[in-house]
Amino acid sequence: MSDEVLRGHVDLLLLAALGSGPAHGYAIVEAVRVRSGGAFSLSEGSVYPALYRLERDGLVVSAWDAGRGERRRRVYRLTSKGRDELERRRTAWRGYVRAMEAALA
């Protein structure tokens, strides 16, 4: 899928990836890639500004893990507000997909 199309849905994809549990940036990118069957390949660096934005909005929180040097990673997890937002966006997206499928049938 093109970057243009994907860009508008990055926040939802990140929230959904974190819906399975806390993860660091690389694991989030991998989760999106695996869950989409390889169809969604995010520009990996752009995930971080999106995560910072979600954190500023109070949808995720993050903390450094116990590793050292290059092994030290920042782990992100959903807040309760983030979980609510994920459900809200999921519902809206499913409604949109149903409507599109009906319109295109």
Partner: protein, 298 residues
Amino acid sequence: MIDAYVDELARELAAAGVRGRPARRLLAETRAHLAEAAAGAGEAAAVASFGEARTLARLVASDLANARTQRATWAGIASLALAGAVCAALFVTLPRSGVDVFAGAVPGLALAASAASVFLPQVSFVAGTLALVRALRHRRATAPAPELAVVQRRMLVALAAGGLTLLSLAALAATQRAGLPGWWTTAAVAGLVLLLPLAAAAVGIVHARRPAAFPAGRPATALDDVAAVAALLPACRRFPLPASPAGLAAAVAVCAGAGVALAGVAASDPIDGALRGVLEAAAVLGCYRVLGRVLALR
């Protein structure tokens, strides 16, 4: 290769005005991410998948500039509201009979302070409102650089005018203390403490200007702000909007002048009211002429 990429990203972040903790955090996360990706795919593939350093740095700078501008705008509006409430209370309780604007130790100071205490709050109110409207229009999405610059300039003008209003009231109290009650002059001078939150908000705005937002371009004008507000108010949709910024300024000048003149008539002084109305309309047009570009009114 990872070291070279992280160094390049550090340079690009610095060039885009992203320094300190946000830069250190991104660089640390980038290094950890690339190390993990390289373990499976090799360093070259990991760096290629991560994306161009300049693009990433600009993305981070834009996000940071937007977040800081939004935060500083709300802090500025809060400090202006506080200062505005104090200025309004001082203005309403000012005993007009105790003021002789042609008297005082420094010739002309009382007259200048008096005029400033009338016009500057209006400049502050209009600039602050326009900044808030523009900030609200961009609160859900990342605004481009010229739009952020408009919000920042409007807030700086609003804060400066608010601070000068406090100073003008204190100057009025100092020059007219012989004819004014002691509690009023004390309150006017004590109000200067509100310069601190105004200054803190101004520092926040200046801080928000450091990360360089992208892309560049031309900002929208005040007509777009008015159209955005009118779209939210059904009653406004029945009235045609002015076709040009100058037309909008003229309409505002006529309305403001008429309002002041009518207030004068209501106070049983039609001649004085008419004179004040003309002065008000002239002041609005003068502000449009002087501050029009700074406030992105035209």
